[in-house]
């Protein structure tokens, strides 16, 4: 049992950044766990991806070329990954915590009897044993998890928690045949998110976002006016878009938009779920307005107002003369 195995995540031919973060995490753990650091690439055409993961502490890249892996398919990936784990017995298996790994990680952990934790943002090695930290109760507490009696551990890593590794390296690359496994689902098509209709969350320097605290659809229009009056782009959390109260193009977060160029983000009535934070946590000036003083959004905010968003909004309109 030694070494770290990372599963590369890619989509439509492009490596996902989260894989570079997993490689970064492996780099920091390699000394404590012992090498090697190995990246597994499963794809129809693994060569360009093998190149993209040849960075940092990576010692070896294993590629598995299969026509049925042209797109991610959990049952195919499960068979390949389990057979590589069975051959190599890594002490630690890492993959990004994302929609693809949701349907893969549990099957691999259960099948191989690995210790297992998801959405992990801290990993330590104590006396040779892996200890993982994640959050609970909508980010209000942290939870330390250990894996008694397990010789290998599988962790899925929260995006943005580990510095991505990009320094080029020259690992050995070996192509293998691994795993039988048959696809039990069939990819039909991709559908890109609908056109944004000119709403530009990624490009906006100033975003005012509303969440479920807005309460009622009838309250939404006044926030469009308020954002306009303040010179901000109106954003929202997922439930607001799911309800159809605002278009999906305004949704900030993991399954929506990244507030990439934002310098000031005012979050009103948003609790601060990890998926929402994914889209805005990096913003330098975050103002949180929430009636719950313990809402986790306050822990990432530079300024906080504990109060009613509708009351604050009304005052803002009054004082700015927005009608």
């Amino acid at each position: 049992m030694s070494g770290i195995l990372i599963l590369a995540e890619h989509r439509r031919g492009t490596l996902r950044d989260a894989t570079l973060e997993a490689i970064g995490a492996a780099g920091t753990l390699k000394a404590a766990l012992g090498g090697p650091v190995t990246v597994l690439v499963i794809a129809a055409d693994p060569a360009p991806l093998a190149k993209a993961v040849s960075v940092g502490a990576v010692d070896e890249v294993i590629t598995v070329a299969r026509p049925d892996a042209a797109t991610y398919e959990p049952h195919v990936y499960e068979a390949v990954l389990r057979s590589v784990i069975a051959q190599r017995s890594p002490a630690l298996v890492l993959m990004p915590h994302g929609v693809d790994s949701f349907s893969l990680a549990p099957a691999v952990a259960i099948g191989e009897g690995l210790g297992f934790a998801t959405d992990v943002f801290g990993v330590a090695v104590e006396d040779g044993q892996v200890v993982a930290t994640r959050a609970g109760y909508n980010e209000k507490v942290f939870v330390e998890i250990d894996f008694p009696g397990r010789t290998g551990v599988l962790l899925t890593l929260r995006g943005g928690s580990f510095a991505p590794e990009t320094a080029p390296a020259s690992p050995a690359v070996s192509a293998i045949d691994a795993g039988d496994g048959t696809a039990r689902s069939k990819h039909l098509d991709w559908r890109d998110p609908p056109a944004t209709g000119g709403i530009d969350i990624p490009g906006s320097p100033f975003i005012l976002s509303i969440g479920r605290g807005v309460g009622d659809e009838a309250n939404v229009a006044q926030f469009l006016e308020l954002a306009d009056g303040l010179g901000a782009t109106l954003g929202c959390s997922r439930p607001i878009a799911d309800n159809g109260w605002l278009p999906k193009a305004r949704q900030v977060g993991q399954s929506g938009q990244l507030a990439a160029k934002c310098n000031l983000y005012i979050a009103m009535g948003i609790s601060g779920s990890v998926q929402h934070q994914w889209g805005m946590k990096h913003v330098e000036n975050i103002v949180a307005i929430n009636k719950d003083p313990e809402a986790s959004i306050f822990t990432i905010a530079r300024y906080g107002i504990v109060g009613d968003m509708l009351e604050i909004a009304e005052e803002l309109r009054k004082q700015k003369g927005i009608h």
Partner: protein
């Protein structure tokens, strides 16, 4: 055909909360409980399949694992269209992690033989996004996670689903059945329960079973069936920003100052 919908009673913490004496969880006295929001969507998806099928041909069974108090979420589900409710009592399930809970769900699925199991994509409190897909792995059934659209005619060999990925990208796919799917928020509009259906739900029986009743062996129950252990729960020392105090009018005035300071 049956559709099994495992539902979780999730906790939200009071403004002030304390940890349990052993420091490994929050003291439940400081929690408020409700049906996991994701499960409302999973249930609605199941009920819609039932309603589209010939009357009486589909039965929606809801299942929770938890203490007596968790009956509340089952009653809520019954009021919103579930036909039958099962609760597996949590006595003896101490130290159950997601995989250990999934073992219970998988056994119930083996007994009930549903054509679909619809779980929530994740829970609102712990949010591991692990339980439903663990159930699929234990059953050896087809699986798909974070399903945002589902077309399935009872008895069909495949279901047409859409998975919502990062950035709002959607993958359309066919999945073989029987399958376990985890359902994403927004897949449908969950119905409200009418007063009449709430009354009827309160009169319905809830089947209460133990982990042994459903067929689990000691080696699968609680810690023995788990792949992880909580060592410690703690409230992190985290920087808190400057809290703007005062009346709403003063708070708004300060906020306008901050906006002009930052935007220059």
């Amino acid at each position: 055909m049956k559709i099994l919908v495992p539902v979780k009673r999730v906790a939200s913490l009071d403004d002030e909360f304390e940890l349990r004496d052993d420091g490994r969880d929050v003291d439940p006295d400081f929690c408020e409980f409700d049906l996991n929001e994701f499960d409302e969507y999973a249930l609605e998806a199941a009920v819609q399949i039932k309603e589209a099928a010939p009357e009486g041909s589909v039965e929606v069974v809801v299942l929770t694992i938890g203490p007596d108090d968790a009956d509340d979420v089952l009653r809520k589900a019954l009021a919103k269209g579930a036909d039958r409710a099962i609760r597996v009592d949590d006595a003896g399930l101490e130290e159950a992690d997601r995989v250990a809970i999934a073992r219970v769900i998988a056994k119930v699925a083996e007994n009930e033989e549903p054509g679909l199991v619809l779980c929530g994509a994740q829970s609102a409190d712990q949010g591991n996004a692990q339980t439903g897909m663990s159930v699929a792995a234990l059953l050896g059934w087809t699986r798909a996670a974070v399903v945002s659209k589902l077309d399935f005619a009872p008895g069909a060999a495949t279901a047409q689903v859409e998975r919502e990925l990062e950035g709002g990208l959607v993958e359309c796919l066919d999945v073989e059945t029987p399958a376990v799917l985890t359902i994403q928020l927004g897949i449908n509009t969950p119905r409200y329960a009418s007063l009449r259906s709430i009354k009827q739900a309160n009169a319905k029986p809830i089947e209460c079973l133990t982990p042994h009743d459903v067929g689990l062996s000691d080696a699968e129950i609680g810690a023995a069936g788990a792949l992880s252990r909580v060592r410690r729960v703690f409230v992190p020392e985290r920087g808190r920003g400057e809290i703007i105090a005062g009346t709403p009018s003063q708070q708004a005035a300060r906020l306008l100052e901050i906006i002009s300071e930052v935007n220059g």
